[in-house]
C-alpha cells in the first residue's frame, strides 16, 4: 500500500518536472511578449504593465517611433510570414508528391532496388553545414539566392527522403489485393490511385506532410545563408536580436506568432495524426 502511494507520488513528481520543464520556457516567452521595454530584463513571470506594443511593432515597425534605429532594417512581419507560408506549403506539397510516387514504386515494384533507396538518406547522414558552400555556389549561378524558389527547391529536396520513408511504411501496409480488386472491377490505374490508394494512405500523407512542413517552417541555417532581403520567418525572428540591439520582447512576440501557426495546423489535423500513428494496428 505504502509502496503504491510512493510509486504514485514519484510518478506525479516526474510528470510535474517534465511539464514544468517544457512549459516554463513557453510561459516565459508569452510573458515577455507582453512586457514593456523597461521590464524585458526583469525575471517576473507576470508583466506589470501588459502591453501590445511588441505585437504592434511586429506588424508596423515604425508605428511607435521608438527603436527606429533598430527597426528601420526590418520589414513588417507579414512579409516573412507569408513567404514562409508559401515556402513551407509548396515545399511540403512537392516533397510529399515526389515521396509518394517514389515510395509507391519502391514498395510495389521494389524499384529502384532496395539499396538505392538508402541513397536518399545520404543528405541526412552528414551535418547540413557541409552542404552550405556548394549550395551557395550553385544557387548563385542559378540566380536562386534571396529567391523563395531557391528555398522551396532546397527544402523539398532535403525533406523528400522523409516523405519516402514514412510513406513507404504506409504503402507497404496496404495489401496489394485492394488495388487488384479495384482493377478487376474495372477501375483504371488512375482511379485505383485516387479512389483506393490515396484515401487509404491519407494518414501517411498527412503525417509526412506535417513533419516536412514543420521542418521547412523552422529551418534557419540555409535560410540565413541563402537570403538577404526576402527573408523567411525564421530569419526574421532571429533578426530582432542583433549586434545593434536586442528587442527581446518583440522577438518573443515574433516567436510566439511563428509557433502558433504550426500549432493551429497540428490541431486541425490531429484526427488524421491519430489514425496515422495507429495505422499499422487496424487491419482492414
Amino acid at each position: 500500500m505504502l509502496r503504491r502511494i510512493l510509486t504514485n507520488a514519484l510518478m506525479w513528481l516526474v510528470l510535474i518536472i517534465a511539464v514544468v520543464w517544457t512549459v516554463i520556457p513557453v510561459m516565459w516567452m508569452i510573458s515577455l511578449s507582453f512586457k514593456t521595454y523597461g521590464e524585458w530584463r526583469t525575471p517576473s513571470l507576470l508583466p506589470r504593465n501588459p502591453t501590445l506594443d511588441n505585437y504592434i511593432m511586429l506588424f508596423s515597425p515604425q508605428a511607435l517611433g521608438i527603436f527606429i534605429a533598430y527597426t528601420a532594417i526590418l520589414e513588417p512581419i507579414v512579409g516573412p510570414l507569408s513567404r514562409t507560408l508559401i515556402i513551407s506549403a509548396t515545399a511540403t506539397v512537392i516533397a510529399v508528391m515526389i515521396g509518394f510516387f517514389t515510395a509507391y514504386g519502391a514498395s510495389r515494384y521494389n524499384s529502384p532496388g532496395p539499396f538505392t533507396l538508402f541513397f536518399t538518406l545520404l543528405t541526412r547522414m552528414l551535418p547540413p553545414a557541409t552542404f552550405v558552400t556548394p549550395i551557395v555556389i550553385y544557387f548563385t549561378t542559378l540566380y536562386l539566392i534571396d529567391n523563395i524558389i531557391g528555398l522551396i527547391l532546397l527544402y523539398a529536396a532535403t525533406t523528400v527522403t522523409y516523405a519516402i520513408w514514412i510513406l513507404k511504411g504506409f504503402i507497404d501496409a496496404i495489401p496489394v489485393e485492394w488495388e487488384e480488386a479495384a482493377l478487376l472491377e474495372g477501375a483504371s490505374p488512375l482511379q485505383v490511385l485516387f479512389k483506393v490508394i490515396i484515401p487509404i494512405a491519407r494518414p501517411g500523407l498527412v503525417v509526412a506532410g506535417l513533419f516536412i512542413f514543420l521542418m521547412a517552417w523552422t529551418e534557419l541555417l540555409f535560410a540565413l545563408v541563402l537570403t538577404n532581403l526576402n527573408v523567411p520567418l525564421s530569419v526574421q525572428v532571429s533578426k530582432y536580436v542583433t549586434a545593434v540591439g536586442a528587442l527581446w520582447g518583440v522577438q518573443a512576440a515574433a516567436a510566439l506568432l511563428s509557433s502558433i501557426i504550426p500549432l493551429v495546423i497540428g490541431y486541425l489535423i490531429q484526427r488524421h495524426l491519430i489514425t496515422g500513428f495507429t495505422f499499422g494496428l487496424v487491419r482492414g
Binding site: 485492394w178 479495384a182 478487376l184 482492414g284
Partner: protein
C-alpha cells in the same frame, strides 16, 4: 472450342524463381458450372486463379475466355472478378460504396447503381450493413461484401480464393449453402479454390485436385471420392482418411491375402483370379474407406477396439489389427466398448489397391458380387 466453355487453360506454367508454382495445367470450365481447385497449401491454387484473372502472367501456355485468347489481355479488360483469400473489402468505404465501386468507376447512372447495389445486398443478406464502414465488419460480412462486389459487375467468371477459410465454422456451413444457392440462381460460372476437401465435394460440379503445381485428378465429386487415381487423392479426400495397409498381395486357396512382414490379412474369400494375377507378388498399399468395412461376426479380420470416437451421427471404432490400426464406422448406438474383440469385413468391391512405389492406383474392387 464449344461455346459452353467459359474458360480454358492450355498447358499453363508459372515459375517464381526456382519454384514451379503451376506446372503444365490444362482444364476447361463450362458455363454455369461450379468448378473447384482443391489441394493442400502451396500447391498453386491461388497462382492459377491469378493467372486466369490476369494478375499474373504465365511463363508458358495460353488462357482463353469465351474462346478468346486473353493470355496478354490486361486484368481489367477480362471481365473476371476475384474474391481474395484475405483483404476483401476496402476499409475506407461503407458497405454500400464497396458494392457500388465497380459500377461507379464505369460511370453508370446513380439510380441503376442504387438498384443493383440493393439487389446484391439483398441476396447476400447485407441490407442492414449498408452504412457500415468496410473496416468495421466481421470477417464473414467482409467476405459477403466481397462476393456482392463481384456479383454487381456481372463478370463472365467469378473466382473465389478460399472465401470461407477465415469465416468461423458455424457461419461457414450456412454460407456454403448460400453460395451454392446464389450460384445456381444466377447461373454464375465459378472457380472455387479451397483446401477443404469436404467443401469441394459438397459444393462443386467438378473438382480438380492439385498437388505441387499439377492437377492430379479431375472429375465429379463422386468420381474423386469413389475412384481416386492415386494414394495422394485417396488420402487427401475423405474424412476420416482412408485406411491403408502396406504389404505384398498373394493368393492362397483362392483367397486374396495381403502379406505384411509379420502377418497375413485375408482380404476376401473369393477373387476373380484373372484380374489379380498380374498384381501378385508386388508391393502394394491396400486402402479402404471407414464406411466400406463393417463389424460382423463372420468377418475375416480380427482386432481389438482401441478407441471410440463420436463424429456427428456416427461412431468411429479405431480397431487394432496386429500392428495396424484401421477406422471403421458403426451406428451411433452400437454397443461397443474399448478393449472389445471384434471381427470386420471389408467390402471387396471397395478395396483400392495402389502401387507402393508410385502411389498409382492399380485396381479397385477385387471381386464382383
Amino acid at each position: 472450342m464449344s461455346s459452353r466453355v467459359v474458360v480454358k487453360l492450355e498447358n499453363v506454367t508459372k515459375r517464381f524463381g526456382d519454384v514451379v508454382a503451376v506446372n503444365n495445367i490444362s482444364f476447361e470450365v463450362y458455363r454455369g458450372e461450379l468448378f473447384s481447385l482443391l489441394g493442400p497449401s502451396g500447391c498453386g491454387k491461388t497462382t492459377t486463379l491469378r493467372i486466369i484473372a490476369g494478375l499474373e502472367q504465365p511463363d508458358e501456355g495460353r488462357v482463353y475466355i469465351e474462346g478468346v485468347d486473353v493470355t496478354k489481355m490486361p486484368a481489367r479488360e477480362r471481365k473476371v472478378c476475384l474474391v481474395f483469400q484475405e483483404y476483401a473489402v476496402f476499409p475506407h468505404m461503407s458497405v454500400y460504396e464497396n458494392i457500388a465501386f465497380g459500377l461507379k468507376v464505369k460511370k453508370l447512372p446513380k439510380a441503376e447503381i442504387d438498384k443493383k447495389v440493393k439487389e446484391a445486398a439483398e441476396i447476400l443478406e447485407l441490407s442492414s450493413y449498408l452504412n457500415y464502414k468496410g473496416g468495421r465488419l466481421g470477417l464473414s460480412e467482409q467476405q459477403r461484401v466481397a462476393i456482392a462486389r463481384c456479383l454487381v459487375v456481372e463478370p463472365k467468371l467469378l473466382l473465389l480464393d478460399e472465401p470461407l477459410t477465415l469465416v468461423d465454422a458455424k457461419v461457414r456451413e450456412r454460407m456454403r449453402r448460400e453460395l451454392k444457392r446464389i450460384q445456381r440462381e444466377l447461373e454464375t460460372t465459378m472457380i472455387y479454390v479451397t483446401h477443404d476437401q469436404l467443401e469441394a465435394l459438397m459444393l462443386s460440379d467438378r473438382v480438380a485436385v492439385m498437388r505441387s503445381g499439377r492437377i492430379v485428378q479431375m472429375g465429379t465429386p463422386e468420381e474423386i471420392y469413389d475412384n481416386p487415381k492415386d494414394l495422394f487423392v485417396a488420402t487427401f479426400v475423405g474424412s476420416p482418411t482412408m485406411n491403408l495397409v502396406e504389404g505384398v498381395l498373394e493368393l492362397e486357396e483362392n483367397k486374396l491375402v495381403l502379406k505384411t512382414p509379420s502377418y497375413k490379412y485375408i482380404l476376401s474369400k473369393e477373387v476373380e483370379s484373372n484380374i489379380i494375377q498380374s498384381l501378385l507378388g508386388s508391393e502394394v498399399v491396400v486402402g479402404f474407406r471407414p464406411e466400406d468395412a463393417e463389424v460382423r461376426n463372420d468377418g475375416v479380420l480380427e482386432g481389438t477396439v482401441k478407441l471410440i470416437e463420436i463424429v456427428e451421427d456416427r461412431k468411429i471404432l479405431h480397431i487394432k489389427i496386429n500392428e495396424d490400426e484401421v477406422r471403421v464406422f458403426v451406428d451411433l448406438l452400437a454397443p461397443f466398448t474399448e478393449g472389445q474383440k471384434v471381427k470386420i469385413r471389408i467390402n471387396p468391391l471397395k478395396l483400392h489397391i495402389f502401387e507402393k512405389k508410385t502411389g498409382r492406383k492399380l485396381l479397385k474392387g477385387v471381386v464382383s458380387g
